[in-house]
Symmetry: C2
């Protein structure tokens, strides 16, 4: 099993090295703060009202982060998958109850880290700290771009963009779930899809 988890950390390292260079020794020390977790389809990583105790690097699998509004409708923030992070960063860093639900849509493998471990890690590894800084910057840039899209584009244009941006997860998601990400009703999404079939 040790061999198994080495594979996961190797993947993690490849991901980190896209952003910063990291030495063997430093990477090894980084790994000690993480734990491997396997979760199966339909498991909830986080539910509304609960505090998000871990941030998780996704080795494999697919998740859905949702919020519900007062009328009971579900809205999707994102679909965290391979080579990305899953968690509610606000709840995690402030230790306050989350408003989100995070559910595994597929069996998944995670590298998880607690808040206290992450704090220590950021103090002790400059390379990881730099990687992590880049990550938050990118997250806010990406979020801003999505806001621009939502402001300036119709549902149909957003649909086209989604297909371009996430070709690899489109086939793994139901229409209903993609609709809740784009911010349109499932019925209307279906019409869009029909129009764009040809």
């Amino acid at each position: 099993m040790e061999i198994e988890s080495e594979k996961y950390f190797k993947k993690f390292r490849l991901h980190i090295e896209k952003y910063v260079h990291i030495e063997d020794a430093e990477f090894d020390s980084v790994c000690r703060y993480f734990e491997v977790e396997k979760v199966s389809r339909k498991t909830c990583l986080l539910e509304p009202g609960k505090i998000c105790r871990f941030e998780n690097f996704v080795v494999s699998g697919l998740f859905q982060t949702t919020v519900s509004d007062e009328s009971g409708k579900t809205h999707t923030l994102n679909f965290p998958h391979e080579d990305w992070w899953v968690g509610d960063f606000k709840s995690f860093s402030s230790k306050t109850p989350s408003v989100m639900r995070i559910e595994a849509l597929e069996d998944a493998i995670l590298l998880k880290i607690s808040k206290s471990s992450l704090d220590t890690l950021l103090e002790s590894s400059p390379a990881f700290a730099s990687y992590f800084q880049t990550l938050s910057e990118n997250a806010s840039i990406a979020a801003n771009e999505r806001i621009i899209q939502q402001l300036s584009q119709t549902a149909e244009q957003r649909y086209v963009l989604f297909n371009q941006k996430y070709p690899n997860i489109k086939g793994r998601l139901s229409q209903k779930k993609i609709a809740s990400f784009l911010g349109v009703s499932p019925e209307y999404f279906n019409q869009i899809e029909k129009r764009n079939k040809f």
Copy 2:
């Protein structure tokens, strides 16, 4: 004039100390990386196609960050004002052309810093680095919350929220500008405002 700019840096320090504690000496060294800039109403800090060379702390004044879509419509990302930052972080950090226009809506005073200075500063001041990390985290949290709002709320609900969240800038903005922030037409915004007058 030196006395004048000391006032600005004092305000900057009060802002930073909301997030992290910083010693006199360290704060002084931080300040050396910034320059005071006064800009007058209607000045453009950044135009589409240009690279954003500075990030700016707003001591006083009000700005509008916009993007234009292919049909020529203008959309507002935010209204940076006192105690916040203005700039296009994506363009700034990647040194690539921006898609945004940033215009001063009022005479303003800024503390500006270049990319190379910021990089050096983040290396040399742990307190500032920690402040800055918090800043990016908050930025992405705030952006995510706006995405949720845009997904789950009608224009009218967003209008009410805007009034609650930014009571201090509402009076300084035209209806047209607020409409372009909320993502509705000026005409429709006018109807909403009329409905909510009483």
